[in-house]
Amino acid sequence: MSENSSHSHDAHALPDPHDFGHTVPYPVYLKVFVSLLVLTVITVVISRFDFGEFNLVVAMLIASIKALLVALFFMHLKFENKIVWLYAGVPLFLLGVMLIGIFIDNPYRMGDRQPSRTTEHIAPKYNGSSH
């Protein structure tokens, strides 16, 4: 993609379509859409089995693959310049910093309360507030 159309000083000349966005062939869009559906089915099927913490990791991994497919092809990120990649990447970096901070911090933040990994922890809430 050229930085600018060479004839931009000439108001009567039409701009070159190649200076605008990239076009993607239809079969690519179709393949991406079918892949997204298949990944959705996979994530549902895996969630039916209990692998403990592994479920969360796999679900987020598949979701990220789906998000990447949408961004790269549907949103044309694959064909964008470095500044657009920077704009797309910075919020994800900040989200990552926040989440990592939370995961490091959480175990020290419980106070009196232990991580409620069993149903007993919320059992009093059921009885205590029913009427």
Partner: protein, 223 residues
Amino acid sequence: MSSVAQHGTTDFGSMDTAPEHRAPPHVHHMDAVTAYHAAKLGMWLFLATEILLFAVLFTAFAIFKWYYFAEFHAASKELNWKLGMFNTAVLLFSSFTAALAVDAAQHGQNRKVVKNLFISIACGGIFLIVKAIEYGAKYSHGMFIGGEHFHQFSNFLSIYYCLTGLHALHVVIGMIVLFWASTKAMRRMYSPVYYTPVELGALYWHLVDLIWIYLFPLLYLIG
């Protein structure tokens, strides 16, 4: 340069010419190529702020899930994963047609732009109807805000309504934006050198889809 263009009024050239020979609307302080890339960069910056808006809620979800692990596990089973999966497929399809609308605009096929955008908008409507059915089921089970069983899963349901409510608001806004983009296609404004509104509208719509891609497994599947 025409006097109309010099006064900053949009000049789309003659509509009788084929799309590939049609001039883009005149922006008086920059050329059409610069205007296109500037608008797209601005849209990506806006999408970055949108991601950060949802990032705060995702972070809140991570904290709540740690604090109320068992409640989250039990509460997510109250959601209908089949409806959630159906809505996921609907949104993915709407993103597919939104991408096809941009592709049609890039080739100056304005009629095809309208068709694909209308399919996307209709999918948004189906999504909202299914969401309303889900909210209705929550209400009838006393699990809506203020319902008699709301307190049992109050932590999960609070973040659930915040996330899905804000997302549904984005679906509504996205439908309006796509309709606005489609009116320009009805007036046959798009050509290979001008399709900024439909591309920016589609970018917004894809972001709404992206958010849901994470919401579906987080809320419905793993809890």
